[in-house]
Amino acid sequence: MKPNSISPKASIGSGKDNALKQDGLNEPLRTRRRRLSLSVGGVIGLLIVTFWALMAVAGPLFAPHDANAMISDGYFGPLSLEFPLGTDYLGRDILSRLLHGAPFTIGVALAATALACTAGVVLALVAAASGGWVDALISRTQDALIAIPNKIFALLMVASFGSSVPLLLLMAAFAYMPGSFRIARAVAVNVMTMDFVQVARTRGEAMPYIIFVEVLPNMLRPVMTDFGLRFVYVVLLLSAMSFLGLGVQPPDADWGSLVRENIEGLWAGAPAVLAPAVAIATLTMGVNLLIDSFGGRSKREMEK
């Protein structure tokens, strides 16, 4: 019983050849879709983020000195040719220490944010697609977690288990997962009500296909925007932990601990305390500028 097997009248060659040569209408449409338009702020943000991303990977290679060598006689030294960003309270080169700290700050924050968002989004998709008691269980658990203040939670974890990079990473991921879940679930619930999801359900598709193939691509933009925001929070949380002396432990140092180590230099107006602070500020601002321009673009597209 296959009433549908109609023989095509014309000879239909391999689908792809046919598709490519048929009409010129394709071209302007495709270029329009691929066009990436960023505002001036977005371009600045993109440049800053690219710069720091490079530094996170290759920073230590560019460092002019050994990060832990006490090579200068003077502490809190000024900017000079030999020490472009001055020296710290032990006479170490700040630029080298900053570059060595970049992988800690950016890398750990990135990994933690990725973990937080992945876990949050997957849970959100499962909750939205299942509904009923599964949704209620996941949502209420996440609500309970969201009620714990991040910094208190972080302090508690460090106090219980001692500070280490894996712990910091997991702790930050765990602390920011509920927020990510909340946003992703709100978006996913909206997408779940769309007809194409109903079509997939009446086709008999299983949940993984529905959530990853049908729903996820349609919520990427808000999720990416949320990812950027959350990354900034994680950077600030990790820096704050390090500033309190509970983050990355000496002799390694991330930017937060660099600020703390050199806090004494504030009285002397030493560049040693300013440079890491400026690094944190530019990174967070750069990421914000970039995601703001994403948000603007999606808003404009929505209007049409």
Binding site: I12, S14, N18, Q22, R32, V199, T202
Partner: protein
């Protein structure tokens, strides 16, 4: 003469994403005399709303009025400053939008919103304005004109809201009223009431109006002149009688041809092919409750293999819920659904892949039914792979075949839904259902979001597909003429009950169930004067006493023009057969109904087939 509006050389351009201006209205010229009603008619994208809005000096965001002049009275609207335009809008030119539900502020009372423009323009004092509003409510045949103003928008029906919006527009006695598709979103039975109210007010007050619509039959009732638009260009501008009787432009003729799909004789051939016993889908005693509210009650339905069954009813009648129940999206609370004798599980979880394959659902709105992030090839390829395990070149070949089957070029396979037109999307939507090689396709209002001409082409395609592939359809629509054109059997739903069921022939001639009769008579006809003479929803209903608290009273009791006191409000109606072969849920016998309906309907038949 008394010229009130003169539009000359009006050009409007829209800016696309590359920042290039694309003209969307190329030099429109027309004029309008005092007290005349002019209709702008065309498909979506023809520029009819754009022209209507430019009469208020307004262009939608992304659009710009680039040339020409629009004179209303003795001012050139396009030369006014924003402050002057603000004085003009709502005072000299008033606007009635398509969706009154979206145009009203849900948190303010209706009266406040209706008199707002009179107060802003300082035409009337609050007291005078309220008195005038009540007077308008009465003229527009709104219930409880004294008190309706105190309600909020969600407390009145869609048709009432549309009339309230007319009151809002007329409160300042504007020189010109623009009605932008004011009845498109309404059911036919509501549309007729709204049209009557509009027409009465327009005639009595001598209002000058511009009526924008895609529906020629509606326009024929309202307008003195019709301007036919296509792609931003005026094709024809003539008095209504002439457009209907002797259209000059070929495009106008094609519009007239597409507007009422004629019932096909082809439907008869199908019946010979399938025997009575070959029942594909058998629904028995179906009931669905949302909480305590029953949205479907005691529905029986049989679909024979290769047959098309139409389901009609107004919004809220449960017709979509019925299709969802068959697809497994709406869990049933009682009754059973058999596919080829095998019971279908009431939820999605209990069904086999084979059962999923055999029943496919085509959604009303192709914009939301196609995933915007997937290419057409992915959309069509998925069911092929899912049901038939097709991959690679074989899948590509089949996708191309499917596209050809729904008359689309194979080149669109690489595009995404956002790059296709509404009609193309609906074809892809259909092709996806066909990819499963189903036995039954559930079509939920598949043509109602489309322009008349495009919708007619989709209907044609459905008819061809049925002939070629032998699939069955459950075709849901609110439009009885569409259903009559495509289906062998027709079911009429009203508030969750099946009130009439019969074959297509039974729906050509009286007797009908009183509700079917109302539906049939409410479909606007392409002749002037239909609105004044048609029998639907006219005159008072026979008075009845308080309904008894008996279960399953006739659902149509409140609106039935032939209800009987002491019978209809006392006992549940039986199901009985009437002449013509229909089964109806009514106390009346076929002979009674025939007598009541014949006088009006004989005239109607002349109108339809003249």
């Amino acid at each position: 003469m008394n010229e009130i509006v003169r539009v000359s050389g009006l050009r409007v351009a829209a800016r696309n994403e590359e920042g290039i201006d694309v003209p969307i209205v190329h030099g429109a010229d027309f004029s309008l005399n005092k007290g005349e009603v002019l209709a702008l008619i065309g498909e979506s994208g023809s520029g009819k709303s754009t022209i209507a809005l430019s009469l208020m000096g307004y262009a939608r965001s992304g659009c710009r009025i680039v040339g020409g002049s629009v004179r209303v009275g003795d001012v050139d609207v396009l030369k006014l400053s924003n402050a002057q335009l603000a004085k003009l809008r709502g005072r000299t030119v008033a606007y009635i939008a398509q969706s009154a539900a979206a145009a009203f502020n849900p948190s303010k009372s209706i009266m406040d919103q209706v008199i707002e423009s009179a107060l802003i323009h300082g035409v009337l004092s609050r007291k005078q304005a309220q008195a005038k509003a009540v007077e308008l409510f009465r003229e527009l045949a709104l219930p409880e004109p004294e008190r309706i103003g105190a309600r909020y928008p969600h407390q009145v029906s869609g048709g009432q809201l549309q009339r309230l919006m007319a009151a809002m527009a007329l409160i300042t006695d504007p020189a010109l009223v623009i009605l932008d598709e004011p009845t498109t979103a309404l059911d036919v039975t509501t549309q007729i009431e709204v049209l009557r109210a509009f027409k009465k007010v327009v005639r009595e007050r001598g209002t000058t109006a511009i009526y924008v619509s895609h529906d020629l039959a509606v326009v024929a009732q309202m307008a003195d002149r019709i301007v036919v638009l296509r792609d931003g260009q005026i094709q024809e501008n003539n008095p209504t009688e002439q457009i209907l009787a002797a259209p000059e432009h070929p495009y106008t003729r094609s519009l007239l041809a597409a507007i009422r799909p004629a019932a096909r004789q082809g439907a008869g051939d199908q019946e010979a092919a399938s025997t009575e016993e070959d029942v594909l889908l058998d629904i028995h005693g179906l009931e669905i409750c949302y909480g305590t509210k029953k949205v479907l009650q005691d529905v029986d339905l049989k679909i024979r293999r290769g047959a098309a069954v139409g389901v009609i009813g107004e919004s809220g009648s449960g017709k979509t819920t019925l299709a969802q129940a068959i697809a497994g999206l709406a869990p049933t609370t009682a009754g059973h659904i058999l596919l080829d004798g095998q019971p279908l599980s009431r939820t999605l979880a209990g069904r086999t892949r084979e059962q999923f394959r055999r029943v496919q659902f085509v959604f009303q709105n192709a914009d939301t039914a196609l995933n915007p992030k997937h290419s057409i090839e992915q959309i069509l390829g998925r069911p092929l792979r899912f049901y038939h395990g097709m991959k690679g070149a074989q899948q590509q070949r089949r996708v191309a075949e499917l596209l050809e089957l729904v008359q689309l070029p194979a080149s669109i396979a690489q595009r995404r839904p956002g790059e296709l037109s509404g009609g193309q999307k609906q074809r892809v939507n259909l092709a996806r259902a066909l990819a499963a090689e189903p036995d039954l396709i559930l079509c939920d209002e598949v043509t109602s979001a489309l322009d008349t001409v495009v919708g007619a082409a989709i209907l044609e395609l459905l008819r061809d597909l049925r002939r070629e592939l032998g699939v069955s359809y459950l075709f849901i629509s609110h439009d009885i003429s569409t259903v009559r054109a495509l289906c062998d059997d027709i079911v009429v739903m009203y508030s969750g009950y099946k009130v009439e069921a019969g074959d297509q022939q039974a729906f050509v001639q009286a007797p009908f169930h009183p509700y079917t009769n109302l539906l049939t008579n409410s479909v606007p006809e392409l002749r002037q004067g239909w609105l004044e003479h048609c029998g639907a929803a006219k005159g008072g209903l026979p008075p009845i006493g308080e309904p008894a608290s008996v279960a399953n009273l006739c659902p149509f009791l409140d609106r039935c023009p032939v209800r009987i006191d002491g019978l209809c409000n006392r006992s549940a109606p039986p199901r009985g057969n009437i002449a013509g072969g229909s089964e109806i849920l009514c106390h009346h016998s076929g002979a009674d109904l025939l007598k009541a309906q014949e006088s009006v309907n004989s005239m109607k038949l002349v109108g339809t087939y003249a």
